[in-house]
Symmetry: C2
Subunit: 375 residues, 2 copies
């Protein structure tokens, strides 16, 4: 299915993933500028993109530092010239052979961990590691005052494997507005600064202190003591990010192109050929102030059609309806009409597709950018 | 990433999709026997499997009639020798060129529709169609007493394109137990029998009457007037089907193999490397009597670990915890332990993977069965 790029949207088999290059470039520049202002290096997370072409735009062609969520990503990006990679999921000891193989090929691949068992395994394998710090109770990591932090730090430093500390305020996704998100940015900073202090007080090194999530990366005002910022979904944005005011609907660079395939007029339903297979099952806006169903409906040009959402999704069917509480008749959208759906969660929606159909910012013909998956 | 099959589970990079051949074969035989007893032909839906090897088991090597949910499936299966295919998603007129191309290559590919606009398009294209009937208000289709049914039937028959009628009781997923599901099976039968009667009363032909969903296919007791049964997820089953008593946990043929990567003892959390990327975002059991989170936890051999579920899923992290209300300490599952997760929804979970790791029923070495996606 390695087809050449179709000449226009009307020639794209639906459902399909569209990427608006103008918005992509604007989003990338926004955070690059923010990181420069804050005086930290940016290590973009490519788990959302999984695309060499997107990575090239994100790193400005430098092949600079990146973050990944799978060893498959590390392998693909290293093959394309990226040599400074953080694998930001707690390392399973069984994966260290693959890590070592990549390192032997010249990739400075660094892992993360938060247990003594993992520290022992990485020291035996001779693989550098960052210790994961828990700043907000979201997921993994050690609290900065956990005595295990210094114990693991000593194990790693003795083995020549201590690179530093990293944290991620995943709970920042649950609060709305820059002021609330800035408090999570402070929690990230406070946690790694305190943890680095604990390591240094024990005579250990901590050259790298890495923080970030898309909300905190945009809200942070002071990153003193932090060396590096990470974020991923910012390059595309999505309805979840718009719902907490990190971006607007006009910043969302990904849409799913779909075709109207039927109607149930008595129910106010418009049927489309994008179900959860194309949109993903992600319902990240369900807990937000504005539940966007499985996505916000736009016309073929990307203009939002007011109050229309994909309310129901089956495998290959989506059902568009009016948002609860909104009035008025449905617009006339005959069978065959092309629509575009703004996704809840760019990472989940993109993962359902093996390619982007790029809408170039110069208005030129569509391009196909492959994306990959797997582990 | 076309690796040879790993020799044992310990060599499979996690997360990975496992398929238990013994359960697969048993599930296939159960519905094949049921259809034979009911006197209808079975047209398995391969949207869940998306695999030539699974299709071969499902059709007993006959390359008999199948159902698909995308034209990509139709193309792949036709290339492998399947020539009797129902594309069971309302046809978009733009897709008729691809349908005609397949038909020109000898594939008896039939589409479905429920609008006059679609009927006009398929007649112009010379493509045979089934009219979709709505039996339960679930999704698309015409009610049997809708005057449009006969109007569309006449358009199709005049154009030589009328194949018959199909319906799908998607709402049968919302009721528990064979008695309740049998009522939906009756609704499917009643709807197509009534609709076929309306066509015949108007002097039209209706050679095929097709019904089915996994719950109704197993619960149906009398399919008089029905010629054909469709079902898809039955070959694998999942927690949603177990939650409405169509199967037991012991029938579920798919699991996601995962590795323990950490712990948060103060929270009762065990971290694994299977997040929603491996499990899918599907939360189909959320509305059932027993909410199974993102999946039920089993040991490496597939034995259920009582009251442990994946309670939280991030992209590449799962968080195992005790089911709400259950007591006792967590089992000792050190970093590196292999576990297996029973999925909520086999269609959604399988879609996250590009291969099955088959556990052969003869106990022989693992096999890799590729699966495909796309549209």
């Amino acid at each position: 299915m390695e087809n050449p790029a179709p000449p226009s949207l009307k020639d794209v088999p639906t459902p399909a993933l569209l990427l608006d290059e103008r918005r992509l470039i604007r989003n990338i520049a926004r955070l690059a500028d923010g990181a420069a202002t804050l005086g930290v290096s940016l290590r973009p997370h490519l788990k959302t993109a999984k695309s060499l072409a997107v990575a090239d735009r994100v790193t400005g062609g430098t092949r600079g530092p990146i973050t990944v969520s799978t060893l498959a990503e590390a392998e693909v990006f290293h093959d394309a010239g990226y040599a400074d990679i953080l694998y930001a999921v707690g390392i399973a000891p069984q994966k260290l052979d693959r890590v070592r193989a990549l390192r032997a090929r010249g990739c400075d691949l660094v892992v993360i961990l938060d247990t003594a068992a993992q520290a022992g395994a990485v020291v035996r394998a001779g693989v550098p590691a960052m210790i994961e710090i828990d700043c907000d109770g979201h997921r993994g990591g050690l609290r900065p005052d956990d005595p295990l932090l210094v114990r693991i730090g000593k194990m790693l430093q003795t083995g020549g494997c201590l690179r530093g500390l990293m944290t991620h305020a995943g709970e920042s996704y649950t609060v709305r507005g820059a002021a609330a998100q800035a408090r999570f940015a402070e929690m990230e900073r406070d946690a790694v600064v305190a943890a680095a202090g604990a390591l240094r007080a024990a005579g250990l090194d901590c050259p790298v202190t890495s923080v970030g999530s898309t909300p905190t990366a945009h809200a942070a005002r002071d990153l003193s003591g932090v060396t590096e910022l990470r974020a991923g979904v910012y390059m595309f944005f999505d309805l979840v990010m718009a719902g907490i005011d990190v971006c607007t609907l006009d910043d969302i660079a990904l849409t799913v192109l779909t075709t109207v395939i039927g109607h149930q007029p008595s129910k106010g339903w418009i049927m489309i050929d994008a179900g959860w297979m194309a949109l993903s099952r992600d319902r990240g806006t369900a807990a937000q102030d504005m539940d966007q169903g499985y996505g916000v409906v736009c016309d073929e040009s990307g203009r939002v059609l007011p109050d229309l959402i994909v309310g129901i999704a089956n495998q290959e069917h989506g059902i568009i309806s009016r948002r609860a509480g909104s009035g008025g008749p449905l617009p006339d959208l005959p069978v065959g009409t092309l629509l575009r759906i703004l996704p809840n969660h760019a990472c989940a929606t993109a993962a359902q597709h093996d390619r982007y159909h790029l809408l170039p910012q110069d208005g030129g013909p569509l391009q196909v950018w492959p994306r990959f998956g797997g582990w």
